[in-house]
């Protein structure tokens, strides 16, 4: 097995305890939200005395609607842990480098003295981020059918609006954001995500290379990248006059090209910094 796989494995194992912790938090919190949503709805249903007659049931449904899992999926305790996971993964982009520098032992010495190109280390860290994000997503996907099943068991069938996992992803909620149901969209979404990761890595390496000055360079770099992405919009509104506009496909291909440039530049820049500037 080559050193890249070994490093990815190593990084994944380092994250593993936190990962398991996250999974448990997500599962518990979401199951709690399930019961909360159900009991709140049932409270209203019982207040309306829905079970007294067919008519009462109908009246209640027409005023309050059926109870669907979508309502659970919008509950704070359901979305909360997902947001926490997203925030934590963003944070982990930084942690994955800084934890090697700080702390009781300076592992960065060992990492930088491995008989492997530093880009292997760089890519293994990026890969770890991607794997962890996708696996959290996968876990949610495994959890959802179970949650939906439990939910549909505990809600009286006459008040239940049935829904499948797929239906959930067709609705507008947090899931359409984190997992587009169209495969190509999914690929592009996560390509953009990785562009962000590489940009942040460059930021971190700039800081590690030039310290305080590096933070300023890093901020300038991030601004430059944001500026680069705005080029099509800039061209559209300032360069060719007010009544010029791009076709959406043109904008898309321009942005795709810019993203390729950004990822390439970020990687090459990081490579330069890792080779020539970064210090333990």
């Amino acid at each position: 097995m080559n050193r890249y796989i070994k490093l990815v494995n190593f990084e994944v194992n380092r994250f593993f305890k936190l990962y398991i912790g996250l999974l448990i938090i997500v599962a518990i919190s979401q199951f709690v939200s399930l019961f909360l949503v159900k009991s709140k709805y049932m409270q209203a249903a019982n207040d309306a005395n829905y079970a007294s007659s067919m008519k009462a049931t109908e009246r209640f449904i027409s005023s309050s609607g059926l109870l669907t899992f979508n309502q659970v999926a919008n509950h704070l305790l359901f979305i909360g842990p997902i947001v926490i996971c997203i925030a934590l993964m963003m944070f982990y982009v930084f942690i994955i480098w800084y934890r090697d520098y700080f702390g009781k032992n300076t592992f960065i010495y060992r990492l930088f003295m491995l008989p492997t190109s530093r880009m292997t280390i760089y890519f293994s860290k990026a890969t770890t981020i991607l794997i962890m994000v996708l696996s959290l997503l996968a876990f949610q996907l495994i959890l959802l059918p179970i949650e939906i099943n439990v939910f549909q068991q505990i809600v009286p069938s006459e008040l239940l609006g049935k829904m499948s996992t797929i239906d959930l992803f067709m609705n507008s909620n947090i899931f359409t954001m984190i997992l587009p149901s169209n495969f190509m969209d999914f690929i592009f979404r996560y390509l953009i995500g990785m562009g962000l990761v590489f940009t942040l890595f460059t930021f971190i390496l700039l800081e590690r290379s030039y310290r305080w000055k590096g933070i300023i360079f890093g901020i300038l770099y991030v601004i430059a990248i944001a500026g680069l992405l705005l080029i099509p919009a800039f061209i559209e509104s300032y360069l060719f006059g007010e009544d010029f506009s791009f076709y959406p496909s043109e904008v898309f291909y321009m942005e795709l090209g810019l993203f390729t440039i950004i990822i390439t530049v970020s990687i090459l820049f990081s490579k330069y910094l890792l080779k020539n500037k970064v210090s333990v």
């Binding site: 702390g103 009781k104 032992n105 010495y109 060992r110 003295m113 008989p115 210090s279």
Partner: protein, 229 residues
């Protein structure tokens, strides 16, 4: 042979290394001594290519440093380079995973020599044992050059004695060793060569036996002369 040629480095406005040059041969123990300043560790890191230098050149067996050479030269800093959550055994496995030149037999021997246990967590080791574990991870590699940063500082007398024994033993073999220290007395008669550093400059470079033979001076005498003049 490790050649350091006209190397300079600044941290911000501070000159950490000013045009330093020296050589360290294979089969010899070269000691970088400095009482002031931070130049010693920086020199080590510069040789290892883990800190950039502003100008100058460093050659190891006439080649510039690149990542494949970490199989041939190793650095033992004064902190542990492994995760504190690792046990000694896991750290040894890590070394085995990543280095072709890891020598498990010698690592076993070192384990016995330092009286360390494989199932001990690195984060829970005493300072002396941590230093020994650190040496273990460095010396377990079949490398030509070993760089050690302050192997004796901050640890107890008995551990110091044990570590000093490494230098006379076959564990060093014919390797080239560079060690830094600010305290020479423990190892004065163990080293071949001395490079005296002060505030990022090299004041003197000499062989210990030559200075004794030609001038009848101990290393301490020379240091007194150099630093107090």
């Amino acid at each position: 042979m490790i050649q350091v040629k006209n190397v300079s480095k600044k941290y911000g406005r501070k000159n950490v290394l000013r045009d330093i040059s020296f050589t360290a041969n294979k089969g010899e123990i070269t000691c970088l001594i400095g009482i002031n300043g931070v130049g010693k560790s920086t020199t080590m890191k510069a040789i290892m290519g883990i800190t950039p230098i502003d100008c100058g050149e460093i050659l190891i067996d006439d080649k510039k440093m690149n990542h494949t050479m970490y199989e041939n030269i190793t650095f033992i800093p004064d902190t542990l380079t492994m995760l504190p959550s690792f046990t000694v055994g896991e750290a040894m496995q890590f070394m085995k995973d990543f280095y072709v030149n890891w020598n498990p037999e010698r690592a076993k021997e070192l384990l016995g020599f330092f009286r360390l246990k494989e199932d001990e967590k690195l984060g829970e080791l005493s300072k002396g044992n941590a230093a020994k574990a650190n040496l273990l991870f460095g010396l377990g590699l079949d490398v030509d050059y070993v760089l050690m940063d302050e192997p004796f500082s901050g640890i107890d007398m008995f551990s110091r004695e044990q570590i000093a024994k490494v230098f006379t033993s076959h564990l060093i073999e014919d390797r080239g060793v560079i060690i830094t220290t600010h305290e020479i007395s423990d190892i004065e008669h163990l080293i071949d060569k001395v490079v005296l550093l002060d505030n990022g400059e090299i004041l003197k470079e000499f062989y210990t036996e030559e200075i004794r033979l030609e001038e009848g001076k101990s290393v301490m005498d020379v240091m007194r002369e150099v630093y107090q003049s």
